[in-house]
Each structure stands twice: as C-alpha cells, then as structure tokens.
C-alpha cells in the first residue's frame, strides 16, 4: 500500500490503565486519518485522552490495542520523522538557544549544524539570538525556539501538545499566525492538541472533537474556509457555535432570527 509521506493513521485504537484493580478506559475505538500536509487539531477538555493519543503518535506510549501507522508503517518508538513541541518550551537552561536548536542534530558536522540552526532561527524570527540563554527569553520567544528545534530535524509530521497554552492571550494570537505561516512554508503535516476552540478553528483544516471518560471521537469537522481566517467573520462564529454546542456550551440567540 502506498501512502503519501507524512500520513498518520490511527485505527481501532483503544487504551486502558488498571487502577486499583479497576479497568480505566482512556481511549476507546479511535479512528482518524491525518492526511499528508494537513493541519489537524484534536480538541477536547482535559482528561479526554488527547495528550495520551499524541504520546502514542510520538512513540512514547506503546501499550495499546489497535494500530498507529505512519506512512503505512507501525510506530515502534520516537523517530526523527516526527517532531514535537510541548506546552512547556522544554529548552535546556544550560544550553544556548543555538545549542538547543541543534539538540537533535548530533549526526551532522559542525558546519551543517550551524547552517540548519541559522536557517531555523531565521524562520522563527530569532536570528542573532543563538548565543542567548533560555532564561533571557520571553515565553513566546522560548516557544519559537522550541518550534525551531522541532523543525530543524526536518520531520514529516509536527506534533504540537497545547503549544501556546502557557502564553498570554495576545502573544498567543500572534503565535497562531506564526504557526500558520510556518505550516504553509514547511508544507508538513501538523497535528495539534488543544482546548482552545478559536485556536483550533483559526489553524485547522480539520478538527477532531473528543469527549472524556472514555476518550472517544465525538465529531470531526472539516473547515474549508480560506486563509488567513478572520476571527470576527460570521463563518468563524458559526463554526465556533457549532463546536461549543458539542461541549454543551451553546447559547440560543432568539434575536438572531429576528434581524
């Protein structure tokens, strides 16, 4: 079977833990295809197993039933075809920004490394910061470095675990634009776990809505709107209302029909 590079498939995946002799189901019968080059968000409240699902895709979690496939091959462990950006930037404080970006580039020689580091720092708008230490950076800048580190490895798929969750509201919106720009530039598959509805709508081609206990897929919404998206447009609002309804947070606006 031939598949386009950067395709990730989850088939009939279930996972449960045993806590005090009780079976605790985390994920139940998950089926999703992440098409090559798409931006897909997994949206859900905390405890729905979305981070567990991401850890399975990353290869850190290996105990589950069903299949997780990349380009048709079973995921056996972490690999350089997948990059990850965590919610905490997870930069090592004793390494400079440049050394942090080069964290996964051990196989290359010094010159190749420098080239990739410079390229990716430029890409995230942090040229000239290679000798700074993470403690000198703001939250948004640190997260950009983390993104540069993940991209420097040239992954086919970038996994994003609530990457903007720790940032303030304005920085967050700005970084969403940046993520979109990077996605369009790199043309790779991006899979983002988030609990921010607007963020998911702004960035995604497809939103997978999950619900908790056990974690199941409740609904998959395709978003065909043109980019960049206007957060204030009626279409955006309409999708938002549709998603919020899934979380039982929908509001009825009787006047909307009167206008």
């Amino acid at each position: 079977m031939s598949v386009e590079k950067g395709t990730l498939e989850i088939r009939n995946l279930s996972k449960s833990y045993v806590v005090d002799n009780n079976q605790l189901q985390i994920l139940k019968n998950i089926n999703i295809t992440f098409p090559s080059g798409a931006f897909v968000s997994i949206l859900g409240s905390s405890g729905c197993g979305k981070t567990t699902l991401l850890r399975i895709m990353l290869g850190l979690e290996k105990q589950y039933e069903g299949d997780a496939l990349i380009d048709g091959e079973k995921i056996k462990g972490p690999g350089s075809n997948r990059g990850i950006v965590f919610q905490d930037h997870r930069l090592l404080p004793w390494l400079t920004v440049g050394e942090n970006v080069a964290f996964g580039l051990d196989k290359l020689n010094r010159k190749e490394k420098k080239l990739l580091v410079d390229d990716h720092l430029k890409l995230v708008g942090l040229s000239g910061f290679e000798n700074a230490y993470p403690s000198n950076l703001s939250g948004g800048m640190a997260q950009r470095v983390a993104i540069a580190r993940a991209l420097a490895n040239k992954p086919e798929i970038l996994l994003l675990d609530e990457p903007l969750g720790a940032l303030d509201a304005l920085t967050r919106m700005y970084m969403q634009k940046e993520l979109e720009r990077l996605w369009e530039f790199e043309k790779i598959t991006m899979i983002m776990v988030t609990h921010d509805v607007e963020e998911a709508i702004y960035l995604s081609d497809k939103i997978v809505i999950m619900s908790s206990r056990p974690g199941v897929i409740k609904k998959v919404i395709d978003i065909p709107s043109a980019r960049p998206r206007d957060r204030a447009s009626s279409e955006f609002m309409h999708i938002k209302a549709e998603i919020l309804k899934e979380f039982h947070l929908g509001t009825e606006y009787p006047f909307a029909y009167a206008i």
Binding site: P78, R90, L92, P93, W94, T96, F103, G104, P134
Partner: protein, 259 residues
C-alpha cells in the same frame, strides 16, 4: 556613586571581620580582659610574622594544605561516583542506601580509634578520615541532583533517541550541576573541619593543628589565634575558588539567580 556589584560584595564580606577586629582592639585597650586570655590584634600579627619568618610556619601550612586537598579530592571523586551510581540505579540505591544512611550517622571522629588501630599513626589514616568527611555531602548531593532531574528533560532525550551515555552526559550531569556544586562546597568545609581532628587525634608534629596544640601547651594564646585565623582564611579562599569554578562551569546561569 558608581560602585560595581563586585566591589560591593567584597566590601560587604570584609565589613564584619574589620568591625570585630576594631571591637577586639577596643576590649583589649580598655583593659577588660588580661592579655594572657585574649592577646591584642597587634600581638597576634607579631606572632604570625615571627612564626612565618623564623619557625617555618609556611611549611606547616603547606603540609596541612596537602592533607586537606588529598583527602578532599579522594572524598569528592569517590563520593561523586557513589552518588551517581545510587542515583542512576534504583537497585543500587536499594542495596547501598540504607547501610550508607546508617553509617553516616556515626561521627567520623568515632572511627578514628579503629582506623588508627588498623593503619597506625601516620599520614594515611589522617587523609582517610578527611576523605570520609568529604564523601558524605558530595555523595548525598550528587544523588539528590541526579534524582531531581526533571522528568520532562529525560522524556525530551528519549524523543530525540538519546542513548544512556548521552542521557547521562548531556542531560543528567548538567541538570545536577548546581546540586553537585553545593556538595563540593560542603565537602570542602567538612575537610577543613576534619583536618583539625586528624591533626589533634592522630598525633603529628607537622600541621596547623599541631601549632594550635603547641599554643595551648605553652599557654600562647596568640599562637592559637594565628592557627585559627590561618585555617579560616585558607578555608574561605578555597571555598571562593570552588565557587568561581562552579559558576564558570554553570552555563545558562542556573546557580546565579540574579535579581
């Protein structure tokens, strides 16, 4: 005023000794205490100069320094390796940690009779007890540093396919550095403290401790004070050197939490 931070900290550290010396001179001049009990600062300085020029005081200092440094280095190297070993291996911790914690409750001075019976009255047992005194703090702090490496960093290393050796050298040791540095500083203090015990309880003619002992026998308070001040100054100087080295090794300023 434009006084640099460094000058300020140096001035701050000598302020208290200077005040104490002035107070000391005042007490002496006012005639509150007999000079046989507390000699004047002037007398102490005179004794110091005489002993340096005529009585080979520097020879005693060098001998004591050699003792301290030998014991200190043996102690920190073995303590570091032991701490690293029980920090990395849960099995090793289970086997060694309880006995280690029991043994370290016994004052090292309590071991001196036994050590002397085994090895005789010579340089070896003196160095051994100094090494033992340095061993505990470095072992405990290395262990704590290794155990407190954030799980997130270890996870990051496994995402990037780091093997065990790379995990230790690139993640665990740099992350444990502040704790190890604290252990080294404490070990140095313990070495100096144990030097006095080594020279007083395992009789010898050479060393600063023996000079203090002779001062006591001859009721020469100035000589005792010369010994005490010498040990204090050397201990302070060596601690400062260790701190400078630790700060130089501490890239990314984990130790220096500057305000």
């Amino acid at each position: 005023m434009n006084i640099s931070k460094r000058t300020k900290s140096v001035l701050g550290s000598i302020l208290l000794p200077v005040v104490l010396i002035i107070l000391w001179q005042y007490i002496f001049s006012a005639g509150y205490i007999a000079s046989a009990i507390l000699p004047s600062p002037h007398q102490v300085i005179k004794t110091f100069i005489i002993h340096f020029t005529e009585n080979e005081y520097s020879f005693h200092i060098i001998s004591s320094l050699k003792r301290v440094l030998s014991g200190f280095f043996i102690g920190i190297v073995s303590g570091f390796l032991f701490g690293l070993f029980i920090g990395l291996s849960r099995t090793a911790e289970k086997i060694f940690s309880p006995s280690f914690n029991a043994v370290r409750q016994i004052s090292i001075i309590g071991w001196i009779p036994l050590i002397v019976m085994w090895f005789g009255v010579n340089e070896f047992p003196r160095i051994i007890i100094i090494a033992a005194a340095a061993f505990y703090p470095i072992a405990l702090n290395t262990f704590a540093g290794v155990r407190n490496v954030p799980r997130e960093y270890v996870e990051l290393a496994s995402v990037y396919g780091y093997n065990r050796l790379k995990l230790i050298t690139r993640i665990i040791l740099p992350s444990a550095l502040p704790s190890i540095a604290t252990g080294i500083t404490l070990a140095l203090g313990m070495s100096w403290a144990m030097l006095m015990a080594a020279e007083l309880f395992i009789p010898t003619n050479i060393g600063i401790g023996t000079r203090i002992q002779i001062g006591r026998e001859k009721f020469n308070m100035a000589l005792i004070l010369v010994g005490i001040i010498t040990v204090g100054s050397l201990g302070f100087a060596m601690t400062s050197i260790v701190e400078i080295i630790a700060h130089a090794a501490d890239r990314g300023r984990i130790l220096r939490k500057e305000i």
